[in-house]
């Protein structure tokens, strides 16, 4: 009998937080690696998609409709809502497949299971980060200047991450039992795109008297923070407070739903 068996590894003495973050990082980079190694354009896709969409909206709303919403330069105004929207909608629609996509891995490893949702939020968040140079480029070309409220941009990222994770934790386990939810979520996202201040601003709802109602869309406050970086009068403290509160509420409910349903989810996948 050979004596090649080493002493048990020391890694188990590392804290659970370190293990969680490492597994989260491994899974997220795995997906990016797969995406970039299998497609020729790789990184460009994370930029091309929002660029093309922005081009379309610019054509429709600036050239065709003679837009009277938003601010100048409109392309910066649009992108500062559109890019975070793509993070949000991408992560939520991916989380409808969080468990089915990874079923084999979930059945064979004991990684903390919220990771299966968190990795999707992080992956789309990184893509959002990669697309920010495009926003910076247009801000420079269009002559938009950073305002005093630019640091709100970072707070917006944090609030959006919390909100998206919370909603993902609710959606992911429920889809396992109610398959219809997958399509319902897609429909809801399409509705939410127009119901959120992306192609317009929250202030544009004023003459409809919908400003207060609109502020209860948690995305309104988040986008108002992103936009505050370039357009100071887009910052709406009330909407921001509402969205921060709703984001924490979503995370709380998400963790609760996830904890209560995970036993059944593991049996079903």
């Amino acid at each position: 009998m050979t004596a090649t068996v080493d002493a048990p590894l020391s890694s188990r003495s590392r804290g659970p937080v370190a293990r969680y973050l490492r597994a989260l990082w491994l899974l997220t980079t795995r997906d990016l690696k797969v995406r970039y190694s299998t497609s020729f354009l790789g990184y460009l896709w994370s930029v091309l998609d929002p660029l093309l969409m922005a081009g379309i909206y610019w054509f429709v709303f600036v050239l065709v409709f003679q837009r009277d919403v938003g601010e100048e330069p409109y392309i910066v105004f649009l992108l500062s809502g559109l890019l975070p929207w793509m993070w949000f909608s991408g992560a939520i629609s991916d989380s409808t497949r969080a468990f089915t996509r990874e079923a084999k891995l979930i059945r064979s490893t004991t990684i903390p299971r919220t990771i299966w949702v968190a990795q999707l939020v992080l992956a789309k968040g990184l893509e959002f980060g990669f697309s920010l140079p495009v926003l910076a480029l247009f801000a420079i070309l269009g002559g938009a200047h950073l305002t005093w409220s630019a640091p709100l941009f970072l707070l917006a990222i944090l609030v959006q991450a919390v909100l998206t994770l919370g909603l993902g934790l609710i959606v992911a386990p429920l889809v396992v039992f109610f398959r219809d939810l997958e399509r319902a979520v897609k429909l809801l996202l399409r509705f939410l795109f127009y119901a959120s201040p992306i192609i317009y601003g929250l202030t544009d709802l004023e003459h409809l008297g919908l400003e207060t109602v609109g502020a209860f869309n948690p995305l309104a406050g988040i986008f108002s923070m992103y936009r505050g970086a370039f357009f100071a009068d887009q910052v709406d403290p009330f909407a921001i407070a509402v969205s921060a509160g709703l984001a924490l509420l979503a995370l709380g409910i998400g963790l609760l739903v996830f904890r209560r349903t995970i036993r059944s989810v593991l049996k079903a996948i």
Partner: protein
Amino acid sequence: MAIDQHAARAADPALGPVISVRGLGIRFRRNRTARRDFKDLFAGRHRRTLPGEFWALRDVSFDVQPGEAIGVVGRNGQGKSTLLKLVAQVLLPDEGEVHVAAGVAPLIEITGGFVNDLTVRENVYLTAGLHGMTRAEIDARYDEMIAFAELEEFQNTPYKHLSSGMKVRIAFAVVSRLEEPILLVDEVLAVGDKAFRDKCYRRIDELLAGGRTLFFVSHSDRDLRRFCRRGLYLDRGELLLDGPIDEVLARYDADHGPE
């Protein structure tokens, strides 16, 4: 040869059980019903059996001491794999408790974490990392894993281009190198050619000699006798017998006829 060593370290009661299972029960739905109401979904743990559900395991209790090698015996669908998954904690029980005091190397669906579009090298780092190894630890063992799987020529080949035998080889090489104190094996060894199977068996012998605890599900009497001293006989979700492996196999044969 390996047997003597098993005997030498089989019982070390001073350390306490490494796996402790108490009143374990889990139930599944018999058929996939289209309707499922929220109340049912959020009910969590309750003892009541709902219509259309059955207990895959119930009232199962046993302890495993460090260094023991245990074989689980039973016909198909009697809860063997479910028990293994509960010990691996990839399933959660509806009643009772499972305590596992040490790290687990689960040889269950071992190819599960491998990604088709990544290379063998990337997959080794990914899978070993997900099972809790640090980068430095993987660096130190990487060559050994590749050598064990005999894939020196294929390190930069996309995983999807490997043959199915190669896939199992690299997966076994990684998971069996995890160096965790507990090894869970679920018939993975039934695949691969004979030469590689022998190699896997030698690897398990080595791990056992190094003091690992083995929890083994198999239909092969030969394998069970080779590795295990103690057996658990499961039938219809019940633990019928917990004793020396020869006794357990004799009882199983008596109940179901020799295979």
